[in-house]
Amino acid sequence: MSMGKPLPHDAAPLHVSGAARYVDDIPLPANALHLAFGLSTIAHGEITAMDLSAVRAAPGVIGVWSADDLRARFGAVPDCSPSAHDEPLLADGVVKYLGHPAFLVAATSHLAARKAARLGRIDYRELPALLTVDDALAADSRFEDGPVIWQKGDASTAIAAAPHQVQGSFEVGGQEHFYLEGQVAACLPQDGGELVIHSSTQHPTEIQHKVAHAAHLPMSAVRVEVRRMGGGFGGKESQGNHLAIACALVSLETGRPAKMRYDRDDDMMITGKRHDLRILYRAGFDAEGRIAGVEFTHLMRCGWAQDLSLPVADRAMLHSDNCYFLPAIRIESHRLRTHTQSATAYRGFGGPQGMVGIERVIDHVAHAVGRDPVAVRQVNFYAPMGEGPAEAGGASPPRSTNWPPEDIFRQKKAGEIQTTPYHMPVEDFVGDAMVADLLASSDYHARRAAISDWNRNSPILKRGIALSPVKFGISFTLTHLNQAGALVHVYQDGSIQLNHGGTEMGQGLFQKVAQVVAGVFGVDAAVIRITATDTGKVPNTSATAASSGSDLNGMAARAAALTIRDRMADCLALQHQTTANTVRFEDGHVHVGAEVLGFAEAAARVYAARVSLSSTGFYATPKIIWDRKRGTGRPFLYFAYGAAVTEVVIDRLTGENRILRTDILHDTGSSLNPALDIGQVEGAYVQGAGWLTMEELVWDAKGALRTHAPSTYKIPACSDRPPVFNVRLWNRPNREDTVGRSKAVGEPPFMLGISTFLALSDAVAACGDGSVYPALDAPATPERVLAAVKRVARDV
């Protein structure tokens, strides 16, 4: 049985020897063209004139296109957006952010194309640029007609009636994906006008769909292949469309292969990032810190195009409760349109932004009642999961929505079902048990006491410690995306080929799915040949996103493998005059009656008996139902949980800071592969901590992103890794019937990084007399930490 084994990544030997091929490594025919975009140099303005003659005359240039040229040639400027049809490939008359692609160059080399792209002359009539959330609010510039508001109970009455109140607001920065492999695509024109696209994308079907639309081809004439990405993190869910479409159009125009890759600076200037936002909050609570009501306002900066902003902002709202039962809540979400890069998917997809809001509220409440924030977290936790399996099938109806509840401040009971702000029952809450375990293993209480002693004797350096839990909802909130397909072939020599709709970006998805299939056939995972994701093999796939990769594709591949195994069992049973359910597939062998066949021998016999050894498989997530407008239903099949304790130290004179120790306990259900899962947890934590501490995006007053390279945009390096870093998995079966009872792992641990931010705030608080709650914005760079220290120290 290979499921659950800590096998290394399937391509490990290729990775360490440099033989793993990424899109830019694929050899292209010698006549291939290389593309580059010419970018706008202002944030908002009408294009009054465009002089591209110098670009055309530059060495190596084969073709140059503006939006007008594309319209003349293709009837329209092709759209690159994932849904809203608001992203023409090239700025069409108006540029909407600084870095907006305005023309396209094809040349004989990458360098020639880039050099030529610098020679374009564009005249603009400048228009006012809305760069900040304040600009956008003042101009009422937004997506959708007004803010989205979801509520449960009457939050404002509950807050007013509660014994204590706090309110506040803070800023949360965006985040550049900084996938180490930048955006890249290549197009190879085929016979009969067909196109083959290689793309570094999390969403091959979308690339296929958008390219087909742009090229006026049926989807069946476009095949997209993705072997692997050098990191994605959500940045390759929609942002690769432009490159693939540009390559396809140039191939159609010239009949030649075309490749486009963004250099790092261009990548950062052109593509979307995590949404930054301002969070405003108000909460009412009792003397123990038990929350009666809370109100949030999210001011999200979405950039110039809609992209995935609506579901991202929804998911932020959906995670505004995190692990806490909030009897009354009101969330108001503004999706603001600005003249900046169009913010997009990023690991957690808004969830982290929502979650950091409630975590700050809890900290603020703890400060107000003078309790350890962990104790306040615990009194607000959802009721723990009861015993027993999940009910089979059907959406659970929303339960009690009565207001006011009989006793807001009553004690919760184990097994009692409480509902989220969107009325979904929380049936699988294990946060309390995990936190209790982690508090013990990390020695939290003793360390907290030791830190406060240490701080009393340390005038300059101050330490801080914090725990933060995670509850993250698993499923796409757009319900129809929760489906997947797979294709499995068993060949007559017993070798097995596996294909599914998921893409590999380092998360080890291919290996996990291979382990599932190997388990079905009772063979070693190494027997399974994993092939590149290919829209010609498995059609109509969803993006590999929302952490759903192994949940969806693992189930689909399992279904395909089971179909073949059943056919093999039927066939062999008939030959041996026995029944199919007595045929066993184990240890590379098939046991039929008294005979033991090698798997290859069994496959050969089934082939000779003229039985199909190939099957597709399909899976659609059960139980989920979601009314996005009203904000009610069961958007998630289950929740994944985790908790982290982080200890930091700051220098109160400079604001410099570092992580000293991190302890993590994370819930992966019954892990499909503990080695890969631990890697995901560690990497996600580091990325989450980076988001809230050092990764700072800075735009200047003209809307130019000034942090567009690793020289100015700092991601965590090896030296930033916590010197003590203990990661454990909470290895208990998922209550829901997922593949091997595992849980998704891609995004949830990202939010463990919130503990770092809270620990910094704790250290800042130690610089004052405790009377002022530290107003700390994220990312908590040394400058911001220093500013926060000054604010709390004023009152000493």
């Binding site: 360490v16 990424y22 180490l180 790092r264 580091v686 690793p710 020289s711 030296s719 890794r721 990661v727």
Partner: protein
Amino acid sequence: MAITINGTEVPLPEDPRMSLAEFLRDGLHLTGTKIGCNQGGCGACTVLIDGQRVLSCLTLAVQAEGREVTTIEGLSSGDDLHPLQEAFIAHDGFQCGYCTPGQICAATAMLRELAEGMPSSVTGDLSRPAPLTAEEIRERMSGNLCRCGAHNGIIAAILQVAQEGAA
């Protein structure tokens, strides 16, 4: 006018402005060397010149004239992996793998620097050779970014090889 690359002599590129990274990738199709930023900020393009680590995106191919360049492809011979390559597999020292060739090349040279007693900014006592600690390795590998955050595996792999080498 030649460079030795992974033991084979090759003529220099015609264009003297060509970077070593471009020359390796586009000229010689040695695509194991990756370009993450093309401006010296990420370490993905790290190769060895005469055993020392260099960023091939910031090095002109002509600067390597008459010298020995070793890329990730040259570290193993056939199926025989370099001990660091083995250790990266054993310790899951990567996720997406894009930084991995650079990490392994950098680690090869870094272990030599350490063995030669070269100090780093975290070395406490400069009068003695730098100690072989996780802290030293973390510091010395911080020029090679890994966005996937595989740092734990990377450090564990390097530490294991270093300790075996020292033993």
